[in-house]
């Protein structure tokens, strides 16, 4: 048995350091939590009621019942994409124009979305300067239950997306985009849009890919919001 006032052994020393670190973290943690706030999104009106496809499968996202859980972001994040320039693999969209993607209008009505041509297409938003990004929210099309194919979201400081590219989301389960087989779930579009965790990465450009959808070969975007610290 060790005497209570015995000099600290190596094990006890480690225990002490761990306790001290825990105390320090404990003191710091509440401060971090205070800085995180739920991401507030202005949602458009729902265009279809209920979930017509109640699929609960491993790599297909289960339609949620009830309110979406809060997505926590640091206090002070804003939509950096609002009214920023958008370029695309299809610079002459079939319907609408690329500026609709960052105009802040998320209603699913006709005239509010841009339609890109068939097959693999991407859109790219230039935030004008690098920023710490926390969430990217995308509304492809929500007036009808459909899922977009091979959805991938990447960020980079290289406008050509050659160097320093980070993939934040990839549901391309057949690797048609060539970024590797995606592990993220395919999901059915709703008026709530899709929140993608940007993980606090610093980037100037955001690029979103898709390869048609379950209803047509076309690609659509109503709005993309990029939340970060200005």
């Amino acid at each position: 048995m060790t005497h209570p006032y015995a000099p600290p052994t190596k094990a006890r020393h480690h225990l002490f350091l761990a306790a001290a670190a825990g105390l320090a973290l404990g003191l710091l943690a509440p401060a971090s939590a205070e800085d995180l706030v739920p991401l507030k999104l202005e949602l458009p009106k729902p265009m279809f009621v209920g979930t017509p496809v109640p699929v609960r499968l491993p790599n297909l996202e289960t339609p949620r019942v009830g309110r979406r859980p809060d997505f926590m972001v640091p206090k002070g994040v804003v939509n950096l994409a609002l009214n920023k320039k958008v370029t695309s693999s299809d610079m002459e969209p079939v319907l609408g124009d690329l500026s609709l993607i960052t105009d802040g209008e998320k209603d699913g009505d006709e005239g509010n979305y841009v339609e890109l041509g068939k097959g693999k297409q991407w859109v790219q938003i230039d935030l004008e300067k690098p920023a710490k990004l926390y969430a990217i929210v995308v509304w492809h099309f929500h007036s009808q239950a459909r899922a977009y194919k091979a959805v991938a979201v990447q960020v980079s400081n290289d406008p050509n997306f050659v160097d320093g590219v980070k993939t934040l989301f990839n549901s391309d389960d057949q690797n048609v985009l060539g970024f590797g087989v995606g592990k993220d779930p395919t999901y059915i579009e709703t008026y709530e849009g899709r929140i993608i965790d940007a993980q606090g990465d610093t980037a100037r450009y955001v690029r979103l890919y898709s390869d048609g959808n379950t209803t047509s070969d076309m690609n659509h975007y109503i709005e993309v919001e990029v939340y970060g610290l200005p």
Binding site: L57, Q144, Q174, T186, T215, D217
Partner: protein, 487 residues
């Protein structure tokens, strides 16, 4: 006619095969397998389309469903659609040849006519038979020749054996005749018209009976056809296709995201001019007046019935196109004599350009788009990815290999797209034995199927039709499928 045929035959695979085409192909596949055609009075239309297609696909070398190609099937309504342009000329000289030529603009190049002329369903054949019947009857009334009344009777028999909506067409024709009698005076019936009518009736009854009886191989067919009227009344109530009375009007004249509705607008404009001309000259020119009344009666009937699908509008649009042709010629005739030909030709050119623009977009560029008013519950192009995926995964499997199970009720038109898949089977629930290699499930069944399959199966989502999804389950050991995994 050549141009109309070319429009209908061009790029036949542009549009994915529709559910109705797949169901029809399944019936034709049974016939190719040697099973006699049996008329189903509850859920199917008549046999004429299958009998018209069967010899053609046999000549193309098809011996089973898996041998069929979409272009082979779609060539049949394409020919019927082009033949409609010739059939309307039976109305000459009751309707001036110039007006019939002008009508050919809409019948040949109008988006609804081209779209459904590229679509292996019954409607184009039905409209063709309607005009053959009306044209032959008109010729009999003019000449008194019994051959025409027999031809009219045979066409009516074919009409009855094509779709249950023959009852509406016949009712509208009777209403048209009654209207002509009331508003334009007694009909000029040929001598011995009673015998002629009896011959027409006999020819119609014989043709319909032979067709429903599959030329003697299904003797209960005619009785089933009689019973079908009961089901037709139930179907007319909607059966999931209920629409407001104005639905056809909306489809025809509401501007859409894919095209301005030039066919509907020009038919409305020139059809009104033609209708006015037909009314004003109802005593001297009875054929146009009959067509006007026939068109109005059909429009009222189809609008009144809750069951509405866009291809049914062809029944009204076809006679309306003849009136529009008359209207175009009449409007051109308003010009001073030395300008008439030029004005008429200019109007025709304008109409042709407008119709061509709409047809190019709706029939070729966006044929299966949800924003296309002619695309009714279109098959999603995504189904081709599912077809290709299953083909890759089953490549190298022999006919005795394990099966691809399709589970669920809402899985059409998958039987068409999987027709070449070895050992494909269809079940309401996942079969316990034999154990499937691949499973395609309707979305509604997918959760239950996933539980039954157990862990390790990878689901992939595909679209069958607008808002109708299917899930492909890929087994945990893809090497067993010949290493076919991957794009």
């Amino acid at each position: 006619m050549g141009a109309a045929l070319a429009l209908r035959l061009a790029a036949p695979e542009t549009m994915p095969v529709h559910t109705d085409e797949a169901v029809n192909a399944s019936i034709l596949g049974d016939m190719l397998d040697g099973k006699p055609y049996r008329y189903d009075p509850v859920d199917r239309h008549g046999p004429t389309l299958y009998f018209a297609t069967y010899p053609w696909v046999r000549a193309c070398g098809a011996r089973t469903l898996r041998d069929l190609e979409a272009w082979q099937l779609r060539a049949v309504p394409a020919v019927f659609g082009a033949a409609l342009l010739a059939a309307v000329f039976l109305l000459r000289p009751g309707v001036p040849a110039a007006a019939l030529l002008a009508a050919a603009l809409w019948l040949g190049a109008g988006a609804p006519f081209v779209y459904y002329g590229r679509y292996w369903i019954h409607e184009t054949l039905f409209v063709l038979l309607t005009f053959v019947a009306i044209g032959a009857a008109w010729r009999y009334l003019r000449t008194g020749r019994l051959a025409w009344t027999i031809a009219a009777g045979l066409a009516v028999g074919g009409l009855v054996a094509t779709k249950e909506t023959a009852a509406l067409t016949l009712a509208a024709a009777l209403a048209g005749l009654a209207g002509v009698r009331l508003a334009a005076g007694p009909l000029d019936l040929p001598a011995g018209w009673g015998r002629g009518a009896a011959l027409a009736f006999a020819a119609a009854a014989l043709a319909a009976a032979l067709l429903f009886a599959s030329f003697g191989r299904n003797l209960s067919g005619p009785a089933d056809a009689a019973r079908s009227l009961v089901h037709a009344f139930a179907r007319a109530a909607g059966q999931g296709h209920e629409k407001p009375w104005s639905a056809y009007l909306g489809w025809l004249i509401r501007p859409g995201i894919r095209s301005a509705p030039w066919c509907g607008w020009t038919l409305g404009l020139f059809g009104a001019a033609g209708a006015l001309a037909a009314w004003r000259r109802r005593r001297e020119a009875r054929a146009p007046f009959f067509l006007l009344l026939f068109t109005l009666a059909l429009a009222v009937l189809y609008c009144a019935i809750p069951y509405k699908t866009p291809w049914l509008e062809l029944n009204v649009l076809a006679p309306a196109a003849v009136l529009a042709g008359l209207g175009l010629v009449r409007l051109g005739g308003l010009a001073p004599p030395h300008l008439r030909t030029g004005l008429t030709a200019s109007l025709a050119l304008l109409v042709a350009c407008a119709l061509g623009a709409e047809t190019e977009r709706l029939c070729f560029r966006f044929p299966a788009d949800p924003g296309n008013p002619l695309a009714y519950s279109p098959t999603s192009p995504d189904i081709r990815r599912l077809e290709a995926r299953v083909e890759r995964l089953t490549a190298g499997l022999g006919p005795d290999s394990r099966i691809v199970a399709v589970v669920g009720s809402d899985i059409w038109p998958l039987p068409w797209y999987l027709r070449r898949c070895p050992q494909v089977g269809y079940w309401p629930e996942l079969p316990g034995a034999p154990a499937p290699f691949l499973v395609v499930s309707s979305a509604g069944q997918a959760e239950r199927v996933a539980r039954a399959l157990g862990p390790g199966w990878t689901p992939e989502l595909y679209g069958l039709r607008s808002e109708v999804l299917a899930v492909l389950f890929i087994p945990p050991a893809p090497a067993r499928l010949g290493g076919a995994r991957g794009p």
